[in-house]
Amino acid sequence: MAENNKILKINNIEVRYHEVILVLKGVSIEVPEGGIVALLGANGAGKSTTLKAVSGLLGHEDGDITDGSIEFLGEKIHRLPAEQISKRGIFQIIEGRRVFDHLTVEENLLVGAHLRPSGLKERLETVYHYFPRLRERRTVMAGFVSGGEQQMCVIGRAMMALPKLMLLDEPSMGLAPLLIKEIFEIIQRLNREERIPILLVEQNVKLALTVAPHAYVMENGRIVMDDTSEKLKENPDIRDFYLGLTDVGGRKSFREVKHYKRRKRWLA
Protein backbone atom coordinates (compact mmCIF):
# COMPACT_ATOMS: atom_id res chain seq x y z
CA MET A 1 0.00 0.00 0.00
CA ALA A 2 1.22 3.48 -0.77
CA GLU A 3 2.59 5.50 2.11
CA ASN A 4 0.43 8.56 1.66
CA ASN A 5 -3.00 7.04 2.14
CA LYS A 6 -2.50 6.16 5.80
CA ILE A 7 -4.72 8.41 7.85
CA LEU A 8 -3.45 7.26 11.23
CA LYS A 9 0.15 6.51 12.01
CA ILE A 10 1.17 5.40 15.47
CA ASN A 11 4.95 5.59 15.60
CA ASN A 12 6.64 3.52 18.23
CA ILE A 13 4.73 4.87 21.23
CA GLU A 14 5.49 4.12 24.82
CA VAL A 15 2.78 4.58 27.44
CA ARG A 16 3.13 4.74 31.18
CA TYR A 17 0.46 4.84 33.83
CA HIS A 18 1.08 6.87 36.99
CA GLU A 19 4.52 7.67 35.59
CA VAL A 20 5.79 4.24 36.58
CA ILE A 21 3.93 1.36 35.03
CA LEU A 22 5.12 0.82 31.50
CA VAL A 23 2.21 -0.59 29.53
CA LEU A 24 3.09 -0.03 25.88
CA LYS A 25 6.67 -0.64 24.89
CA GLY A 26 6.97 0.72 21.40
CA VAL A 27 3.78 0.13 19.45
CA SER A 28 3.44 1.10 15.81
CA ILE A 29 0.19 0.80 13.91
CA GLU A 30 -1.08 2.28 10.66
CA VAL A 31 -4.65 2.65 9.50
CA PRO A 32 -5.27 3.24 5.79
CA GLU A 33 -7.95 5.55 4.50
CA GLY A 34 -11.36 3.89 4.51
CA GLY A 35 -9.97 0.66 5.93
CA ILE A 36 -10.64 -1.58 8.88
CA VAL A 37 -7.64 -2.64 10.91
CA ALA A 38 -7.97 -5.16 13.72
CA LEU A 39 -5.87 -5.18 16.86
CA LEU A 40 -5.84 -8.57 18.51
CA GLY A 41 -4.42 -9.94 21.70
CA ALA A 42 -5.11 -11.39 25.11
CA ASN A 43 -6.39 -9.46 28.10
CA GLY A 44 -3.84 -7.00 29.38
CA ALA A 45 -1.85 -6.95 26.16
CA GLY A 46 -2.37 -3.19 25.86
CA LYS A 47 -4.99 -3.02 23.14
CA SER A 48 -7.37 -0.69 24.92
CA THR A 49 -4.47 1.42 26.12
CA THR A 50 -3.39 1.86 22.51
CA LEU A 51 -6.86 3.10 21.58
CA LYS A 52 -6.93 5.46 24.55
CA ALA A 53 -3.54 6.80 23.57
CA VAL A 54 -4.95 7.73 20.18
CA SER A 55 -8.19 9.23 21.49
CA GLY A 56 -6.50 11.13 24.31
CA LEU A 57 -8.55 9.44 27.02
CA LEU A 58 -5.32 8.22 28.61
CA GLY A 59 -5.02 11.51 30.44
CA HIS A 60 -8.25 10.73 32.24
CA GLU A 61 -6.66 7.62 33.72
CA ASP A 62 -3.36 9.22 34.64
CA GLY A 63 -1.61 7.64 31.69
CA ASP A 64 0.89 9.41 29.51
CA ILE A 65 2.61 8.89 26.18
CA THR A 66 6.27 9.08 27.14
CA ASP A 67 7.83 8.34 23.77
CA GLY A 68 6.96 8.11 20.10
CA SER A 69 4.27 10.01 18.22
CA ILE A 70 0.81 9.68 16.77
CA GLU A 71 -0.06 11.30 13.47
CA PHE A 72 -3.57 11.80 12.20
CA LEU A 73 -3.98 13.17 8.68
CA GLY A 74 -0.41 14.35 8.82
CA GLU A 75 -0.79 16.22 12.10
CA LYS A 76 0.87 15.18 15.33
CA ILE A 77 -1.89 14.67 17.89
CA HIS A 78 -0.33 12.79 20.78
CA ARG A 79 0.12 15.91 22.93
CA LEU A 80 -3.44 17.18 22.47
CA PRO A 81 -6.17 16.89 25.11
CA ALA A 82 -9.11 14.57 24.42
CA GLU A 83 -11.54 17.30 23.35
CA GLN A 84 -9.13 18.57 20.72
CA ILE A 85 -8.65 15.09 19.34
CA SER A 86 -12.43 14.60 19.13
CA LYS A 87 -12.65 17.89 17.28
CA ARG A 88 -10.34 16.44 14.65
CA GLY A 89 -12.76 13.58 14.11
CA ILE A 90 -11.40 10.68 16.16
CA PHE A 91 -14.00 9.02 18.34
CA GLN A 92 -13.45 6.08 20.61
CA ILE A 93 -16.20 3.68 21.54
CA ILE A 94 -15.14 2.60 24.98
CA GLU A 95 -15.49 -1.06 25.86
CA GLY A 96 -18.35 -2.19 28.03
CA ARG A 97 -21.29 -0.43 26.33
CA ARG A 98 -21.05 2.82 28.23
CA VAL A 99 -24.45 4.33 27.43
CA PHE A 100 -25.73 7.27 29.42
CA ASP A 101 -28.09 5.23 31.59
CA HIS A 102 -30.45 8.00 32.54
CA LEU A 103 -30.93 9.52 29.10
CA THR A 104 -33.21 8.03 26.47
CA VAL A 105 -31.71 6.23 23.49
CA GLU A 106 -32.39 9.22 21.26
CA GLU A 107 -30.89 11.66 23.75
CA ASN A 108 -27.82 9.43 23.86
CA LEU A 109 -27.54 9.77 20.12
CA LEU A 110 -27.96 13.53 20.35
CA VAL A 111 -25.11 13.80 22.85
CA GLY A 112 -23.01 12.02 20.23
CA ALA A 113 -23.58 15.00 17.96
CA HIS A 114 -22.24 17.35 20.63
CA LEU A 115 -19.44 18.67 18.44
CA ARG A 116 -21.48 18.83 15.22
CA PRO A 117 -24.85 20.20 16.17
CA SER A 118 -26.30 20.83 12.72
CA GLY A 119 -28.34 18.55 10.47
CA LEU A 120 -29.38 16.34 13.37
CA LYS A 121 -32.60 15.04 11.78
CA GLU A 122 -30.91 13.45 8.80
CA ARG A 123 -28.15 12.01 10.87
CA LEU A 124 -30.62 10.43 13.29
CA GLU A 125 -32.31 8.92 10.24
CA THR A 126 -29.00 7.48 9.04
CA VAL A 127 -28.37 5.90 12.43
CA TYR A 128 -31.89 4.46 12.53
CA HIS A 129 -31.39 3.17 9.00
CA TYR A 130 -28.44 1.09 10.15
CA PHE A 131 -29.96 0.22 13.52
CA PRO A 132 -33.74 -0.12 13.03
CA ARG A 133 -34.00 -1.51 16.56
CA LEU A 134 -32.89 1.79 18.01
CA ARG A 135 -35.78 3.55 16.33
CA GLU A 136 -38.23 1.31 18.16
CA ARG A 137 -36.52 1.95 21.46
CA ARG A 138 -35.71 5.62 21.06
CA THR A 139 -37.85 6.89 23.94
CA VAL A 140 -36.65 4.26 26.41
CA MET A 141 -34.00 5.09 29.00
CA ALA A 142 -30.77 3.61 27.69
CA GLY A 143 -30.00 1.94 31.01
CA PHE A 144 -32.99 -0.32 30.51
CA VAL A 145 -32.54 -1.54 26.93
CA SER A 146 -30.88 -4.89 26.20
CA GLY A 147 -27.13 -5.34 25.97
CA GLY A 148 -27.19 -5.63 22.20
CA GLU A 149 -29.23 -2.48 21.87
CA GLN A 150 -26.83 -0.67 24.17
CA GLN A 151 -23.94 -1.69 21.95
CA MET A 152 -25.85 -0.43 18.93
CA CYS A 153 -26.62 2.74 20.81
CA VAL A 154 -22.97 3.51 21.53
CA ILE A 155 -21.95 2.78 17.94
CA GLY A 156 -24.80 4.96 16.69
CA ARG A 157 -23.79 7.64 19.15
CA ALA A 158 -20.31 7.75 17.68
CA MET A 159 -21.77 7.82 14.15
CA MET A 160 -23.67 10.97 15.11
CA ALA A 161 -20.31 12.64 15.55
CA LEU A 162 -19.45 12.07 11.86
CA PRO A 163 -16.17 10.40 12.75
CA LYS A 164 -13.19 10.46 10.46
CA LEU A 165 -11.80 7.54 12.41
CA MET A 166 -13.66 5.22 14.73
CA LEU A 167 -11.83 3.41 17.50
CA LEU A 168 -13.98 0.46 18.39
CA ASP A 169 -13.16 -1.40 21.58
CA GLU A 170 -14.51 -4.93 21.84
CA PRO A 171 -17.98 -4.57 20.42
CA SER A 172 -18.61 -8.28 20.95
CA MET A 173 -18.01 -8.26 24.69
CA GLY A 174 -20.68 -10.20 26.55
CA LEU A 175 -23.12 -10.54 23.68
CA ALA A 176 -24.84 -13.57 22.17
CA PRO A 177 -23.13 -15.03 19.06
CA LEU A 178 -26.01 -14.19 16.73
CA LEU A 179 -26.12 -10.63 17.95
CA ILE A 180 -22.36 -10.32 17.51
CA LYS A 181 -22.74 -11.43 13.92
CA GLU A 182 -25.44 -8.81 13.34
CA ILE A 183 -23.37 -6.05 14.88
CA PHE A 184 -20.27 -6.99 12.91
CA GLU A 185 -22.24 -6.95 9.67
CA ILE A 186 -23.39 -3.45 10.49
CA ILE A 187 -19.84 -2.41 11.30
CA GLN A 188 -18.72 -3.69 7.92
CA ARG A 189 -21.52 -1.83 6.17
CA LEU A 190 -20.63 1.36 8.02
CA ASN A 191 -17.11 1.04 6.79
CA ARG A 192 -18.14 0.27 3.21
CA GLU A 193 -21.08 2.61 2.77
CA GLU A 194 -20.20 5.53 5.04
CA ARG A 195 -16.46 5.21 4.38
CA ILE A 196 -15.62 5.37 8.09
CA PRO A 197 -12.14 3.99 8.81
CA ILE A 198 -12.16 1.73 11.86
CA LEU A 199 -9.47 0.57 14.24
CA LEU A 200 -11.03 -2.45 15.88
CA VAL A 201 -9.91 -4.07 19.11
CA GLU A 202 -11.31 -7.54 19.46
CA GLN A 203 -10.92 -10.76 21.41
CA ASN A 204 -13.00 -12.72 18.96
CA VAL A 205 -10.11 -13.33 16.59
CA LYS A 206 -11.97 -15.40 14.06
CA LEU A 207 -14.62 -12.77 13.53
CA ALA A 208 -12.14 -9.90 13.57
CA LEU A 209 -10.05 -11.55 10.88
CA THR A 210 -13.07 -11.95 8.61
CA VAL A 211 -14.06 -8.29 9.02
CA ALA A 212 -10.65 -6.65 8.83
CA PRO A 213 -8.33 -7.21 5.88
CA HIS A 214 -5.30 -6.32 7.97
CA ALA A 215 -4.52 -7.13 11.59
CA TYR A 216 -1.94 -6.57 14.28
CA VAL A 217 -1.35 -8.97 17.16
CA MET A 218 -0.30 -7.57 20.52
CA GLU A 219 1.28 -9.27 23.47
CA ASN A 220 2.59 -7.74 26.62
CA GLY A 221 2.69 -4.19 25.34
CA ARG A 222 4.32 -4.98 22.01
CA ILE A 223 3.19 -5.75 18.49
CA VAL A 224 4.34 -9.28 17.86
CA MET A 225 2.78 -9.85 14.46
CA ASP A 226 1.38 -7.75 11.68
CA ASP A 227 0.03 -9.09 8.43
CA THR A 228 -2.98 -9.46 6.18
CA SER A 229 -5.79 -11.45 7.68
CA GLU A 230 -5.43 -14.18 5.06
CA LYS A 231 -1.86 -14.83 6.09
CA LEU A 232 -2.61 -14.55 9.78
CA LYS A 233 -5.34 -17.14 9.50
CA GLU A 234 -2.78 -19.54 8.07
CA ASN A 235 -0.13 -18.74 10.66
CA PRO A 236 0.42 -21.77 12.92
CA ASP A 237 0.90 -19.65 16.06
CA ILE A 238 -2.31 -17.74 15.50
CA ARG A 239 -4.14 -20.97 14.81
CA ASP A 240 -2.69 -22.38 17.97
CA PHE A 241 -3.14 -19.50 20.42
CA TYR A 242 -6.16 -17.62 19.17
CA LEU A 243 -8.22 -19.82 16.93
CA GLY A 244 -7.82 -22.96 19.04
CA LEU A 245 -7.27 -25.11 16.00
CA THR A 246 -4.51 -27.39 17.35
CA ASP A 247 -4.00 -29.74 20.26
CA VAL A 248 -5.46 -28.71 23.54
CA GLY A 249 -2.95 -27.97 26.26
CA GLY A 250 -0.20 -26.62 24.02
CA ARG A 251 1.53 -23.31 24.48
CA LYS A 252 -1.03 -20.60 25.10
CA SER A 253 0.97 -17.42 24.86
CA PHE A 254 4.04 -15.70 23.48
CA ARG A 255 4.59 -14.10 26.81
CA GLU A 256 7.99 -14.88 28.29
CA VAL A 257 7.40 -16.18 31.76
CA LYS A 258 10.56 -14.71 33.19
CA HIS A 259 9.75 -11.22 32.04
CA TYR A 260 6.27 -11.48 33.41
CA LYS A 261 7.57 -12.46 36.84
CA ARG A 262 9.99 -9.60 36.88
CA ARG A 263 7.22 -7.17 36.11
CA LYS A 264 5.03 -8.58 38.84
CA ARG A 265 7.74 -8.01 41.41
CA TRP A 266 8.23 -4.45 40.22
CA LEU A 267 4.55 -3.75 40.68
CA ALA A 268 4.44 -5.19 44.18
Binding site: L57, H60, L103, V111, G112, H114, L115, P117
Partner: protein
Protein backbone atom coordinates in the same frame (compact mmCIF):
# COMPACT_ATOMS: atom_id res chain seq x y z
CA UNK B 1 -59.33 27.30 57.67
CA UNK B 2 -58.08 30.73 56.74
CA UNK B 3 -54.91 30.11 58.65
CA UNK B 4 -54.44 26.85 56.80
CA UNK B 5 -54.88 28.45 53.41
CA UNK B 6 -52.63 31.30 54.38
CA UNK B 7 -49.88 28.94 55.48
CA UNK B 8 -50.41 26.72 52.48
CA UNK B 9 -50.10 29.44 49.90
CA UNK B 10 -47.17 31.28 51.43
CA UNK B 11 -45.55 27.90 52.05
CA UNK B 12 -45.67 27.05 48.38
CA UNK B 13 -44.29 30.43 47.46
CA UNK B 14 -41.47 30.30 49.96
CA UNK B 15 -40.83 26.74 48.87
CA UNK B 16 -40.38 27.83 45.29
CA UNK B 17 -37.38 29.88 46.37
CA UNK B 18 -35.93 26.85 48.17
CA UNK B 19 -36.57 24.87 45.01
CA UNK B 20 -34.65 27.36 42.92
CA UNK B 21 -31.61 27.23 45.17
CA UNK B 22 -31.87 23.45 45.46
CA UNK B 23 -31.86 23.25 41.68
CA UNK B 24 -28.47 24.90 41.59
CA UNK B 25 -27.24 22.53 44.25
CA UNK B 26 -28.54 19.44 42.44
CA UNK B 27 -26.85 20.59 39.29
CA UNK B 28 -23.40 20.63 40.83
CA UNK B 29 -24.01 17.30 42.49
CA UNK B 30 -25.32 15.75 39.29
CA UNK B 31 -22.43 16.86 37.16
CA UNK B 32 -19.49 16.43 39.44
CA UNK B 33 -20.67 14.43 42.43
CA UNK B 34 -19.68 17.27 44.75
CA UNK B 35 -21.84 18.00 47.77
CA UNK B 36 -21.70 21.74 47.77
CA UNK B 37 -21.76 23.00 51.33
CA UNK B 38 -21.25 26.60 50.27
CA UNK B 39 -24.66 26.95 48.69
CA UNK B 40 -25.94 29.24 51.44
CA UNK B 41 -23.06 31.63 50.91
CA UNK B 42 -23.76 31.72 47.20
CA UNK B 43 -27.27 32.92 48.06
CA UNK B 44 -25.84 35.46 50.45
CA UNK B 45 -23.48 36.85 47.83
CA UNK B 46 -26.24 36.97 45.23
CA UNK B 47 -28.54 38.81 47.60
CA UNK B 48 -25.95 41.44 48.50
CA UNK B 49 -24.82 41.95 44.93
CA UNK B 50 -28.39 42.53 43.84
CA UNK B 51 -29.04 44.88 46.74
CA UNK B 52 -25.95 46.88 45.91
CA UNK B 53 -26.86 47.12 42.22
CA UNK B 54 -30.43 48.01 43.05
CA UNK B 55 -29.48 50.78 45.41
CA UNK B 56 -27.07 52.31 42.97
CA UNK B 57 -29.50 52.07 40.07
CA UNK B 58 -32.68 53.16 41.80
CA UNK B 59 -31.49 56.74 42.17
CA UNK B 60 -31.59 57.26 38.43
CA UNK B 61 -34.51 55.20 37.18
CA UNK B 62 -37.94 53.85 38.09
CA UNK B 63 -38.23 51.22 40.79
CA UNK B 64 -39.11 48.19 38.70
CA UNK B 65 -36.62 48.87 35.94
CA UNK B 66 -33.90 49.24 38.52
CA UNK B 67 -34.85 45.98 40.19
CA UNK B 68 -35.05 44.00 36.95
CA UNK B 69 -31.73 45.41 35.81
CA UNK B 70 -30.26 44.56 39.19
CA UNK B 71 -31.45 40.97 38.81
CA UNK B 72 -29.95 40.74 35.34
CA UNK B 73 -26.74 42.18 36.75
CA UNK B 74 -26.83 39.61 39.55
CA UNK B 75 -27.18 36.84 37.01
CA UNK B 76 -24.23 38.12 35.02
CA UNK B 77 -22.04 38.58 38.09
CA UNK B 78 -23.18 35.16 39.30
CA UNK B 79 -22.09 33.66 36.01
CA UNK B 80 -18.67 35.27 36.24
CA UNK B 81 -18.19 34.38 39.90
CA UNK B 82 -19.28 30.81 39.19
CA UNK B 83 -16.78 30.39 36.40
CA UNK B 84 -14.05 31.98 38.51
CA UNK B 85 -14.79 29.86 41.57
CA UNK B 86 -14.61 26.72 39.52
CA UNK B 87 -11.45 27.81 37.77
CA UNK B 88 -9.58 28.95 40.87
CA UNK B 89 -10.72 26.60 43.60
CA UNK B 90 -12.19 23.49 42.03
CA UNK B 91 -10.45 22.86 38.73
CA UNK B 92 -7.36 21.63 40.54
CA UNK B 93 -9.46 19.22 42.55
CA UNK B 94 -10.72 17.25 39.56
CA UNK B 95 -9.79 13.64 40.14
CA UNK B 96 -9.04 14.14 43.84
CA UNK B 97 -11.04 12.20 46.46
CA UNK B 98 -14.56 13.53 46.66
CA UNK B 99 -14.29 14.16 50.40
CA UNK B 100 -11.42 16.55 49.78
CA UNK B 101 -13.52 18.47 47.29
CA UNK B 102 -16.38 18.68 49.78
CA UNK B 103 -13.97 20.10 52.35
CA UNK B 104 -12.97 22.71 49.78
CA UNK B 105 -16.60 23.79 49.55
CA UNK B 106 -16.69 24.11 53.35
CA UNK B 107 -13.65 26.34 53.12
CA UNK B 108 -15.29 28.30 50.34
CA UNK B 109 -18.36 28.87 52.48
CA UNK B 110 -16.29 30.54 55.21
CA UNK B 111 -14.30 32.48 52.67
CA UNK B 112 -17.40 33.83 50.94
CA UNK B 113 -19.08 34.66 54.21
CA UNK B 114 -16.00 36.54 55.32
CA UNK B 115 -15.84 38.45 52.08
CA UNK B 116 -19.48 39.44 52.32
CA UNK B 117 -19.02 40.75 55.85
CA UNK B 118 -15.92 42.67 54.86
CA UNK B 119 -17.63 44.32 51.92
CA UNK B 120 -21.17 44.82 53.18
CA UNK B 121 -20.94 44.63 56.98
CA UNK B 122 -23.01 42.38 59.20
CA UNK B 123 -26.06 44.56 59.84
CA UNK B 124 -29.38 43.61 58.36
CA UNK B 125 -29.98 45.53 55.16
CA UNK B 126 -33.25 45.88 53.32
CA UNK B 127 -34.24 46.75 49.81
CA UNK B 128 -35.15 50.42 50.14
CA UNK B 129 -37.23 51.86 48.61
CA UNK B 130 -39.33 48.73 48.73
CA UNK B 131 -39.52 46.99 45.40
CA UNK B 132 -42.91 45.44 45.94
CA UNK B 133 -45.84 47.34 47.55
CA UNK B 134 -46.44 46.34 51.12
CA UNK B 135 -50.23 45.98 50.79
CA UNK B 136 -51.15 42.32 50.49
CA UNK B 137 -53.31 40.96 47.72
CA UNK B 138 -56.47 39.36 49.05
CA UNK B 139 -57.55 36.20 47.27
CA UNK B 140 -60.63 34.39 48.59
CA UNK B 141 -60.22 35.81 52.05
CA UNK B 142 -56.52 35.05 52.26
CA UNK B 143 -54.04 37.88 52.32
CA UNK B 144 -50.80 37.23 50.50
CA UNK B 145 -47.88 39.61 50.44
CA UNK B 146 -47.07 40.80 46.95
CA UNK B 147 -43.44 40.01 47.47
CA UNK B 148 -44.36 36.35 47.88
CA UNK B 149 -46.33 36.30 44.67
CA UNK B 150 -43.54 37.85 42.66
CA UNK B 151 -40.96 35.60 44.23
CA UNK B 152 -43.04 32.64 43.23
CA UNK B 153 -43.38 33.89 39.67
CA UNK B 154 -39.69 34.67 39.35
CA UNK B 155 -38.58 31.36 40.83
CA UNK B 156 -40.95 29.39 38.61
CA UNK B 157 -39.87 31.29 35.52
CA UNK B 158 -36.23 30.64 36.19
CA UNK B 159 -36.87 26.99 36.90
CA UNK B 160 -38.75 26.53 33.64
CA UNK B 161 -35.81 28.10 31.83
CA UNK B 162 -33.34 25.77 33.55
CA UNK B 163 -35.40 22.66 32.92
CA UNK B 164 -35.79 23.55 29.25
CA UNK B 165 -32.07 24.13 29.11
CA UNK B 166 -31.41 20.59 30.30
CA UNK B 167 -34.00 18.92 28.16
CA UNK B 168 -33.61 20.70 24.87
CA UNK B 169 -30.20 22.26 24.48
CA UNK B 170 -26.96 20.71 23.41
CA UNK B 171 -25.03 21.70 26.52
CA UNK B 172 -27.92 20.70 28.75
CA UNK B 173 -27.93 17.17 27.39
CA UNK B 174 -24.16 16.98 27.47
CA UNK B 175 -24.17 18.03 31.12
CA UNK B 176 -26.51 15.21 31.97
CA UNK B 177 -24.39 12.84 29.93
CA UNK B 178 -21.31 13.93 31.81
CA UNK B 179 -23.09 13.31 35.09
CA UNK B 180 -23.91 9.81 33.93
CA UNK B 181 -20.56 8.68 32.55
CA UNK B 182 -17.79 11.22 32.43
CA UNK B 183 -15.39 9.09 30.43
CA UNK B 184 -17.94 8.26 27.75
CA UNK B 185 -18.93 11.93 27.53
CA UNK B 186 -15.28 12.84 27.16
CA UNK B 187 -14.92 10.34 24.34
CA UNK B 188 -17.59 12.27 22.45
CA UNK B 189 -15.81 15.56 22.82
CA UNK B 190 -17.79 16.90 25.79
CA UNK B 191 -15.39 18.93 27.88
CA UNK B 192 -15.86 17.90 31.51
CA UNK B 193 -14.09 21.02 32.71
CA UNK B 194 -16.51 23.25 30.88
CA UNK B 195 -19.43 21.25 32.20
CA UNK B 196 -18.26 21.75 35.79
CA UNK B 197 -17.72 25.44 35.19
CA UNK B 198 -21.17 25.74 33.70
CA UNK B 199 -22.70 23.89 36.65
CA UNK B 200 -21.08 26.28 39.11
CA UNK B 201 -22.12 29.27 37.06
CA UNK B 202 -25.74 28.15 36.95
CA UNK B 203 -25.68 27.34 40.67
CA UNK B 204 -24.38 30.84 41.39
CA UNK B 205 -27.08 32.37 39.23
CA UNK B 206 -29.92 30.36 40.78
CA UNK B 207 -28.64 31.03 44.28
CA UNK B 208 -28.24 34.71 43.50
CA UNK B 209 -31.84 35.11 42.48
CA UNK B 210 -32.94 33.01 45.46
CA UNK B 211 -30.96 35.26 47.80
CA UNK B 212 -32.45 38.37 46.23
CA UNK B 213 -35.99 37.11 46.68
CA UNK B 214 -35.39 36.09 50.28
CA UNK B 215 -33.76 39.42 50.92
CA UNK B 216 -36.89 41.12 49.70
CA UNK B 217 -39.00 39.10 52.11
CA UNK B 218 -36.96 39.22 55.31
CA UNK B 219 -34.13 41.63 54.70
CA UNK B 220 -30.57 40.58 54.09
CA UNK B 221 -28.26 39.39 56.78
CA UNK B 222 -26.24 36.42 57.85
CA UNK B 223 -29.35 34.25 58.29
CA UNK B 224 -29.96 34.09 54.54
CA UNK B 225 -27.01 31.74 54.30
CA UNK B 226 -28.81 29.27 56.55
CA UNK B 227 -30.72 28.46 53.41
CA UNK B 228 -27.61 26.55 52.41
CA UNK B 229 -28.38 24.04 55.13
CA UNK B 230 -32.06 24.01 54.37
CA UNK B 231 -31.22 22.89 50.86
CA UNK B 232 -30.07 19.56 52.27
CA UNK B 233 -33.48 18.31 53.41
CA UNK B 234 -34.90 19.57 50.13
CA UNK B 235 -32.54 17.55 47.98
CA UNK B 236 -32.59 14.53 50.26
CA UNK B 237 -36.33 14.45 49.90
CA UNK B 238 -36.37 14.94 46.14
CA UNK B 239 -33.39 12.74 45.40
CA UNK B 240 -29.88 14.12 45.23
CA UNK B 241 -29.68 14.23 41.46
CA UNK B 242 -33.23 14.83 40.37
CA UNK B 243 -34.24 18.21 38.96
CA UNK B 244 -37.99 17.64 39.38
CA UNK B 245 -37.12 16.27 42.82
CA UNK B 246 -35.51 19.56 43.76
CA UNK B 247 -38.64 21.45 42.74
CA UNK B 248 -41.11 19.18 44.52
CA UNK B 249 -38.74 18.92 47.49
CA UNK B 250 -38.39 22.68 47.74
CA UNK B 251 -42.11 23.25 47.80
CA UNK B 252 -42.68 20.42 50.27
CA UNK B 253 -40.09 21.76 52.66
CA UNK B 254 -41.53 25.25 52.29
CA UNK B 255 -44.96 23.94 53.24
CA UNK B 256 -43.61 21.86 56.07
CA UNK B 257 -41.75 24.79 57.53
CA UNK B 258 -44.75 27.06 57.31
CA UNK B 259 -47.13 24.55 58.85
CA UNK B 260 -44.71 23.71 61.61
CA UNK B 261 -44.35 27.41 62.30
CA UNK B 262 -48.08 28.06 62.19
CA UNK B 263 -49.40 25.13 64.19
CA UNK B 264 -46.60 23.79 66.36
CA UNK B 265 -44.45 26.74 67.32
CA UNK B 266 -46.73 27.52 70.28
CA UNK B 267 -45.97 24.17 71.93
CA UNK B 268 -42.21 24.46 71.83
CA UNK B 269 -40.48 27.19 73.77
CA UNK B 270 -37.78 27.73 71.16
CA UNK B 271 -40.03 27.26 68.17
CA UNK B 272 -39.83 24.32 65.83
CA UNK B 273 -40.08 26.02 62.47
CA UNK B 274 -36.36 25.96 61.81
CA UNK B 275 -35.70 22.37 62.70
CA UNK B 276 -38.84 20.73 61.33
CA UNK B 277 -37.28 20.13 57.91
CA UNK B 278 -34.30 18.38 59.47
CA UNK B 279 -36.43 16.12 61.64
CA UNK B 280 -38.35 15.28 58.51
CA UNK B 281 -35.11 14.60 56.63
CA UNK B 282 -33.83 12.16 59.22
CA UNK B 283 -37.08 10.21 59.32
CA UNK B 284 -37.42 10.26 55.56
CA UNK B 285 -33.92 8.90 55.03
CA UNK B 286 -34.83 5.81 57.03
CA UNK B 287 -37.47 4.89 54.49
CA UNK B 288 -36.21 6.17 51.18
CA UNK B 289 -32.46 6.73 51.20
CA UNK B 290 -32.45 7.68 47.50
CA UNK B 291 -35.19 10.27 47.92
CA UNK B 292 -38.23 10.39 45.71
CA UNK B 293 -36.55 10.40 42.33
CA UNK B 294 -32.88 10.00 43.05
CA UNK B 295 -30.87 7.81 40.75
CA UNK B 296 -30.68 4.35 42.05
CA UNK B 297 -27.89 2.69 40.21
CA UNK B 298 -29.36 0.80 37.31
CA UNK B 299 -28.05 -2.69 37.74
CA UNK B 300 -28.64 -5.07 34.90
CA UNK B 301 -29.13 -8.70 35.77
Amino acid sequence: MDLFLQLFITGIMLGSIFALVALGWVLIYKCSGVLNLAMGELTLIGGYVCLWLYQSLVKTMPLMTAFLLAIVGTLIIGLILGLLTERIFLRKMIGEPILAVIMVTVGLSFFFKGMVFIIWDTDTQVFLPRVFPIEPVVVGGVAIGQVYIWSFVAAMLLMVIFVCFFKYTRWGLSMQACADDEMAALSLGVSAKFVYALAWAIAFMAAGVGGTLLGNINGLNYSVSLLGLLVLPVVVFGGLNSVPGAIVGGITIGLLQNFAGGYLDGYFPGGIKEIAPFIFMVVFLLFKPYGLWGWERIERV
